[in-house]
Amino acid sequence: MPVSYIEAIRTGLAEEMRRDERVYLIGEDIGIDGGAFKATQGLIEEFGPQRVIDSPLAEGIIVSSSIGAAMIGMRPVAEIQFVDFITPAMDAITQQAAKLRYRSAGTQTCPLTVRVCYGGGTGGGLYHSQTNTTWFAHEPGLIVVAPATVADAKGMLKASIRQDDPVLYFEHKRLYRTIKEDLPDGDDFIADLFHAAVRREGKDATLVTYGYMLQVALQSAEKVEQETGATIEVIDLRVLNPLDRDTILDSVAKTSRLCILQEDHRTLGIGSEISAIVAEDAFDCLDAPILRVAAPDVPAIPAAEPMEQFYMPNVEKTCAALHKLLQY
């Protein structure tokens, strides 16, 4: 039976909690209420309030207490209800979690997972739609993942919990209930945490993306092929830090053309680094400029629909860029 992205998260959490007593959850409204989006629904009933902690309203201590607990052997999964509210945990994440292993020369570590709900296109407005992946993808010491499929939602979450590093797991709210997939049975289903995935093979151009935009990328690739016959290779980054250079470079070596699609605004989005990697390490392969389809450089996604639509990258904008790229 096909399951949704959010069900995959929920069962992933439950399986890991059953498997390992050291796994516990902490966050705002994750207990009795089952989470703002119901990702943790039913878990407090099964595991009790000791392992599903409705925390005080303070993202800083949600993450920093998890660091401490992880240091002495627990496997905390902290939830940030909306990435728009991750700023109080900025020190905990970038100065503590990212640097603890380094500053102790490997003698103190914090294997924690921070589940971060992000993304726009649902009318949430300025403070319920942000992306903010750059802040963390820029920080060595953190693993940052952004599953774009149901299988990854589950498999990468389980892998994150078992990984001996702090992992930020970015889950896109618009995927929660819009995609469904059949999943392999059993709780040993662990996804790779280190590589990008080719979601669609192609030879005429490479389209790199992550998160909800994978949907847009696949549709755009389909549409362009119908219109022009050109095949577009679609790469789902999956991991935003540390980036898998190989998969991207290999694809560009084949296609000679690169377009990056990101929901985030243009400047210093993840796409900038992808572009820089390719311009540095695969320049000779390139037959055209590296294009970016991205949101405009404005502070956040406005609530009113006309502006939200203006803001969001979509199939139309992506196809236009791909056409331009192919015709170059």
């Binding site: 409204d29 409705d54 309203l57 800083g60 009113a304 629909e305 502006m307 939200e308």
Partner: protein, 358 residues
């Protein structure tokens, strides 16, 4: 510094520690009328929401009107208000036109923020109401800065900053109160303790029973008030405002109250016992004030009915205004990023010269 906790509200209209005057009959009626209108407005908004006439999430303060009205009714235009997500009605109390407020709900071009924020996040520059972000407690810190500037500018404007019980757990809350104390700033922190932060009960937020106690950590007065008693609320706020205006520094007012509905318009609030909700509904601040006014011969059902009708008409007109107001243009997404225009920069990426200059 003496710290007062749980001053009884019963004596509020007849005495005042600092010797303030009694509350006039007109003021009592105004307090009632304002609460009633806030209630009507939010029920209207919720009705529209249910019919999906506007988008986004709304956070109703129904049940909490006394706390907001009592604290904000006497503010001057120059005084600043720092609202939280649940304080849409502070705009009304301070005098924002209904057209603007309903345009906010509808996210139209006629809204104060031209369609950018979520419906309940209403601010209004002409009346010094900070346009709220969603970050819990952030408004307290910005409010603190306004209070600092007021002090520097040697005017007697004050700031009233609203927050909820949940907000007290955040570092921002602490930094704002501590800073205000160190600088004796003209600011009143009104914490509406409605016992819940979304689905999290107060006992998981803090170990203390009265949030007002927390003022002791900062060395200024904290007081717990029955937040459903608008007269008590008014009295206490009045004293705090006077203190602040005259350089006496900050006050923390904890208003114990309750929200009748879910956290937001999509929350069925199943985490609360129905009995708890019912018990609090019997403490309806508006009904209580109605009884109080009736005792004092200040109330007639006709007066109320007339208000309901005439304000109902005003609301309908505001809804009509909002619904007929144009949508924002898509391209306005690019406006108000900086003091200079970025349309050229974003739209025509081949025109490389930035359109802005100093």
């Amino acid at each position: 510094m003496a710290t007062k906790v749980k001053e009884s509200a019963a004596v509020a209209t007849t005495s005042s520690k600092n010797g303030g005057s009694l509350i006039s009959d007109d003021k009592l009626k105004q307090l009632y009328a304002t609460m009633l209108k806030c209630r009507l407005m939010e029920e209207k908004a919720l009705g529209l929401k249910k019919m999906a006439r506007f988008k986004g999430n709304y956070y109703a303060a129904v049940g909490q009107e006394a706390a907001v009205v009592g604290a904000a009714i006497d503010l001057r235009p120059e005084d600043a208000v720092a609202p939280s997500h649940r304080d849409f009605i502070t705009n009304f109390v301070k005098g924002v036109p209904l057209d603007a407020m309903f345009s906010q709900l509808y996210g139209r071009v006629t809204s104060p923020d031209k369609g950018r924020c979520a419906p309940a996040h209403c601010g209004y520059a002409p009346l010094n109401i900070i346009t709220p972000s969603s970050t819990i407690a952030a408004q307290l810190n910005i409010g603190t800065g306004i209070a600092l500037a007021n002090k520097m500018l040697k005017n007697d404007n004050i700031v009233v900053a609203f927050s909820g019980d949940g907000s007290t757990s955040l570092g921002f809350w602490h930094e704002a109160l501590n800073f205000s104390a160190v600088h004796d700033l003209p600011i009143i922190f009104v914490c509406q303790n409605n016992l819940w932060a979304e689905s999290v009960p107060i006992r998981l937020q803090t170990k203390v029973e009265d949030i007002s106690l927390k003022a002791q950590a900062y060395g200024f007065p904290g007081i717990t008030v029955d937040g459903n008693d608008v007269v008590a609320m008014y009295r206490v706020a009045h004293e705090a405002i006077q203190r602040a205006r005259s350089g006496g520094g900050p006050t923390l007012i904890e208003a114990k109250t309750y929200r009748w509905y879910g956290h937001s318009s999509i929350d069925p609030a199943k985490y609360r016992a129905p009995e708890e909700v019912e018990a609090w509904k019997t403490k309806d601040p508006i009904a209580a004030m109605e009884r109080y006014l009736t005792q004092r011969n200040l109330f007639t059902p006709a007066w109320k009915q007339q208000m309901i009708e005439s304000f109902g008409k005003e609301l309908d007109e505001a809804v009509d205004f909002a619904e007929k107001s144009p949508q924002v243009e898509p391209i306005e997404c690019l406006d108000h990023v900086y003091s200079f225009d970025i349309r050229g920069r974003e739209l025509d990426r081949k025109t490389r010269a930035p359109k802005y200059q100093k």
